[in-house]
């Protein structure tokens, strides 16, 4: 390839059509920016979150963890010859009261500072000036990390600072802020272990023991030797971080796949723009071919153009992506709407390898987009092209590649998840999309073959349209493919989001039957410290206007060390079929057995199908429970179980409660009841209230925020599809300029020329819309019935929002035809008349 020639011709072409190539450049840049920014946000947030976990947990060789187990285990463990250091820890999730009266979620770590320091240096208490250097032994002293200091403005560690109040049950306990700790992440408070055990009603209890082993110790033998009590598990180094990663993995992968869709549509725009550019430059290619440029060189020339376009677009995209990620991290705090990284404001972390990969993806997408036009440039016959005679496409395009891809896509949709992710389902979606697009040439060929033959067609305009489409099948195919690809993606996303939203909405109706809800803790992990007494609940039931009251208790249960906790909900359960959104009728209760109802995630993650037995590590010990039914839960992705409160209280002896559902008498103001309930508490802030309407509104708002990126992608896909249609039709119209000129000489008016082009476009866009709709519906089935359950472990019913789908189709149809008419209007003007003077 002659680079001087390439530079001359490429730069001239780009300078000649700056907007068109600018649009392709922008499409690649946007695709790369979106994919790269999503990746950066996810990886930065995950790295920060993992780092926070690492600093808070330290770097032990092994951790023995469980739910408040007896600290007698510590003596045994510390005495084992294989253990070099054993550090006992009590973890308490609770609330601190800020100076302005707010409740701030904090994690209290009760440690033996001297033992913890070698394993978790970030937890070493640093007394402020004026404090004794051994103040960390003071059971009343507490040390705050930066996030806690920031969240609890005013709780600065000064000698005369006010006490810090932490919620312990239905009241508060006061501690003195004596210094700081270096641990990162969410608000963490470090205090002496004995003090924490005493203050938080956990005397003789531990949450975990971090171990440093004597070098050469066999971990498995050690675990066997320790004979850990039920409910305590040994967790190897890195598992906690793995658990953090697993927490958001499906969400991150889904976002990344969606972002890659943007790159796919970017590739399509490159295809459209380069196709048009090649069509326009056919005479130039033909002339250069005559002058000695080989077919291979013509192909390489077009591909080199695409590579340059991709490289420039990628460079812009990487810069834009980094800027977007930095802004999103600052504004959304790494959350991206998913709610997986609360309280984390991670700094942007850019990796060289990741940057290179996303840059290469941008270039690759441009090359993929340019592959077909490059082949067209390669295959043109210079002599024929110079005469304007082209070469007819006589052979029928093979249908088997597209059909094979569709079959593979359909088959892949039935495969199970790989490594817990719906990778096969994503492959199915890609295969369906590419298969559908690959099948278009054969379908277009079949459609044209089925059309009446020339002799039968008496009118000049239908004959011209049909014969041209037959002669230049590839151009028609390109226009249809643009419509199919963009519409299929939009239809699939529309159906998936609508199905999910309707599902969530119906589910909210089922799970929010009461008028007013109150809760003591925002999460199940804090439910052990922020709770309500049975006495308080009994008094609430007496509040005027309250006709019915249901109180429930939440408990986090660690069923697997490498998975996030599941939530155990104990509540009155007199009629499970009416009280829970069950998927099937409940199995009958068996005498002598504890029955539970599990969410769908429990079935996917723990195999807890209806009828099976599951071991529950309750505070009182491990209890086997029979699964009586499966219910739909869109709130807890990692699993939840519902148990009758009578069973739970009998098994655990735990009478504490967390959530209240209040049904009010008609005409009772919710605000009045809220006020009455608050008056019953020592601190009004101990309860959070929300009406069912507020909860519903908030849930749907969170849902819409989570799916905001899909709306953006739909808009981008449709916009790029329309630009693609415009470019394809422009290429067609351009190639037919002389034909229009001739038709003007033969007596066709400009309006007739525009009408014939608009009519043709309408026929092709309609065919594309129909195929795009069908393909989109097929892809939506995979998204709804495979990708979602495999990603998030919940199912939903298929909802087809026909009004929106038809509006989408109509918009594409109108936009396609209008674009074609505009192109034809320009092409059928005086320039067309003059074009008959040009050599073909």
């Amino acid at each position: 390839m002659n680079f001087a020639l390439l530079r001359l011709l490429v730069l001239r072409e780009w300078r000649h059509h700056p907007w068109r190539h600018g649009a392709a450049l922008l499409a690649v840049a946007l695709g790369v920016a979106l994919a790269y920014s999503v990746h950066l946000i996810n990886s930065s947030a995950l790295a920060e979150f993992s780092s926070a976990v690492r600093t808070a947990n330290g770097e032990p060789d092994l951790t023995l963890s469980g739910r408040l187990f007896d600290d007698a285990l510590f003596e045994r463990v510390a005495a084992d010859p294989g253990v070099q250091i054993a550090s006992p820890v009590l973890e308490i999730d609770t609330y601190a009261r800020s100076s302005d009266g707010r409740r701030v979620a904090v994690r209290v770590l009760g440690i033996d500072a001297l033992l913890a320091a070698p394993l978790a240096p970030a937890l070493w208490p640093q007394p402020v000036a004026g404090e004794d250097r051994l103040v960390f032994l003071d059971p009343d002293a507490v040390f705050l990390n930066a996030a806690a200091r920031s969240a609890l403005r005013g709780a600065e560690a000064t000698a005369d600072s006010r006490p810090l109040e932490l919620q312990a049950g239905a009241g508060y306990t006061s501690l003195r802020v004596a210094g700081n700790v270096a641990a990162g992440g969410t608000p963490v408070l470090v205090m002496d272990l004995a003090g924490a055990q005493e203050r938080f009603a956990a005397l003789g209890k531990l949450s975990r023991i971090d171990l440093r082993l004597v070098p050469g110790t066999d971990t498995q033998q050690l675990i066997r030797r320790l004979a850990l009590p039920a409910g305590v598990t040994a967790v190897a180094a890195g598992v906690a971080e793995q658990r953090v990663s697993n927490l958001s993995r499906a969400y991150r992968v889904n976002l990344t796949v969606l972002a890659l869709v943007a790159l796919f549509v970017g590739a399509f725009l490159v295809f459209s723009v380069v196709s048009l550019s090649v069509a326009q430059r056919t005479p130039a290619f033909a002339l250069l071919g005559v002058l000695g440029l080989s077919a291979q060189e013509r192909r390489r020339w077009v591909l080199a153009e695409c590579a340059l376009l991709g490289a420039a677009g990628s460079a812009m995209g990487l810069l834009l992506g980094a800027a977007l990620a930095a802004a999103a991290l600052r504004l959304l705090a790494g959350d991206l709407g998913g709610g997986y990284f609360p309280g984390i404001v991670p700094p942007l972390q850019v990796g060289v390898l990741d940057t290179a990969v996303f840059g290469a993806l941008g270039v690759a997408s441009a090359l993929v987009g340019g592959w077909w036009p490059a082949r067209q440039a390669q295959q043109l016959v210079p002599a024929q092209a110079l005469k304007g005679l082209g070469s007819p496409e006589s052979t029928a395009p093979p249908a088997w590649p597209g059909a094979t891809l569709l079959a593979l896509g359909a088959a892949a949709a039935f495969l199970p998840p790989i490594a817990g992710l719906p990778l096969a389902a994503y492959a199915a979606v890609a295969a369906l999309l590419f298969g559908g697009v690959a099948l278009i040439p054969a379908l277009v060929h079949a459609l044209l073959a089925a059309a009446p033959v020339g002799g039968v067609l008496r009118g000049a305009l239908p004959l011209l349209a049909l014969q041209r489409a037959r002669f230049q099948r590839r151009t028609a195919t390109a226009a249809v493919a643009g419509v199919v690809a963009s519409l299929a993606l939009s239809v699939a996303l529309t159906v998936m989001v609508a199905s999910f939203r309707v599902g969530v909405s119906s589910w909210l109706d089922a799970v929010l039957p009461a008028d007013l809800y109150a809760r003591s803790a925002g999460s199940s992990s804090a439910a052990d410290q922020a709770w309500l007494t049975p006495d308080f609940v009994a008094r609430v039931a007496q509040v005027p206007g309250v006709t019915r009251l249901e109180a429930s208790r939440l408990q986090p249960l660690q069923l697997s060390p490498d998975r996030p906790t599941v939530t155990l909900i104990s509540r009155p359960l007199s009629d499970p079929a009416a009280q829970l959104p069950l998927l099937q009728a409940p199995l009958p209760a068996q005498a002598g057995e504890v029955g539970v109802f599990v969410s769908e995630a429990m079935v996917s993650l723990y195999g807890a199908a209806a009828g099976s037995l599951i071991d529950l590590p309750l505070p009182s010990g491990v209890v086997p429970a029979r699964v009586r039914g499966v219910w739909r839960d869109y709130a807890r992705q990692f699993g939840a179980l519902v148990m009758a409160d009578s069973d739970y209280q009998r098994l655990s002896g735990d009478l504490r409660l967390n959530d209240l559902a209040l049904t009010l008498a008609p005409g009772t103001a919710a605000a009045t009841v809220q006020q009455a309930l608050r008056a019953l508490l020592p601190d009004p802030a101990l309860l959070e209230f929300a009406s069912s309407a507020q909860l519903r509104q908030m849930s749907l708002r969170i849902f819409d925020r989570s799916f905001a990126v899909t709306y953006y992608l739909q808009v981008v896909a449709i916009a790029i599809g329309l630009v693609g249609i415009a470019a394809s039709l422009s290429a067609q119209v351009l190639a037919r300029r002389k034909e229009f000129g001739l038709l003007s000489h033969l007596g066709l008016t400009r309006a007739q020329v525009v009408a014939v082009v608009a009519g043709e476009a309408a026929a092709w866009v309609a065919a594309g819309v129909l195929m795009g709709l069908l393909l989109g519906l097929a892809i939506s089935l995979v998204l709804v019935f495979v990708v979602n359950p495999q990603s998030f472990h919940w199912t939903m019913d298929l909802v087809l929002p026909w009004a929106r789908l038809l509006a989408l189709c109509a918009a594409v149809m109108v936009a396609g035809v209008a674009t074609a008419a505009l192109c034809a209007r320009n092409a059928a003007g005086r320039q067309a008349v003059m074009s008959v003077k040009e050599d073909w």
């Binding site: 005679l389 007819p392 000049a460 011209l464 230049q472 033969l746 007596g747 008016t749 005086r830 073909w840």
Partner: protein, 221 residues
């Protein structure tokens, strides 16, 4: 059939031609010579109603083009005019027969017999089913001539029809054009640089910036 009255045309301030007056009767074959850039093709476009003259009148079969709107002009072209171009302009995606039948289809008068008859007349009777890519330049121009006469127009406008052909083929094509014009009883205005082509005409005129003047027939080169 064709009457031009004091036609003139400018591009910007520069006159292309002015004071062009001409009458061409049915059955008459007029050749129009002129230097490059003198406006021969522009004059043909003005005659066809595809370009507007800045002054003067064009009358075809007594109908003044200036009184017609775009649609009426298009209809008039469809019925009354036939075109032959230097670059053939046959549509590559239509067969030879479909190309020739195009004017009849536009008039909703498709007549396969007539198409076959005209193709026979131009010596392409056997090639109706072929695509243009399979024809030589001379054959393509004969297709264009057949298309120009198939609907029996009153006026044929030929713009350098032999410009892309070798002398022998050009002679044959001109003979075909001459014969077809005669048989159709149409008027023909032939724009050409070629003295040989002009020699087939009944009358040879020269277009200059100042108007049209008679030109003595040149000996064939």
């Amino acid at each position: 059939m064709l009457q031009l009255k004091n036609l003139h045309k400018h591009y910007g301030p520069s006159p292309i031609f002015q004071g062009v007056s001409l009458r061409v009767a049915r059955g008459e074959f007029v050749a129009l010579l002129g230097e490059s850039g003198v406006g021969k093709s522009t004059l043909l476009n003005c005659i066809a109603g595809l370009d507007e003259a800045d002054g003067g009148q064009v009358l075809i079969d007594g109908v003044a083009l200036s009184g017609l709107d775009d649609v009426a002009r298009a209809r008039l072209r469809r019925v009354q005019l036939g075109f032959v171009f230097q670059a053939f302009h046959v549509l590559p995606h239509l067969t030879v027969a479909q190309n020739v039948g195009l004017p009849l289809r536009l008039l909703n008068r498709l007549d396969d017999t007539r198409v076959a008859q005209v193709l026979d007349a131009v010596g392409l009777g056997e090639l109706g089913a072929r695509l243009p890519a399979q024809l030589s330049g001379g054959q393509l121009q004969r297709v264009a001539i057949a298309r120009a006469v198939v609907h029996a127009p009153g006026l044929i406008l030929a713009d350098e029809p032999t410009g892309n052909l070798d002398p022998t083929t050009a002679d044959k094509v001109m003979a075909v054009l001459r014969r077809q014009v005669q048989e159709a009883g149409a008027a023909c205005v032939l724009v050409t640089h070629s003295a040989a082509a002009a020699s087939a005409a009944d009358r040879v005129l020269r277009l200059t910036p100042l108007g049209i003047e008679d030109a003595a027939p040149q000996p064939a080169a």
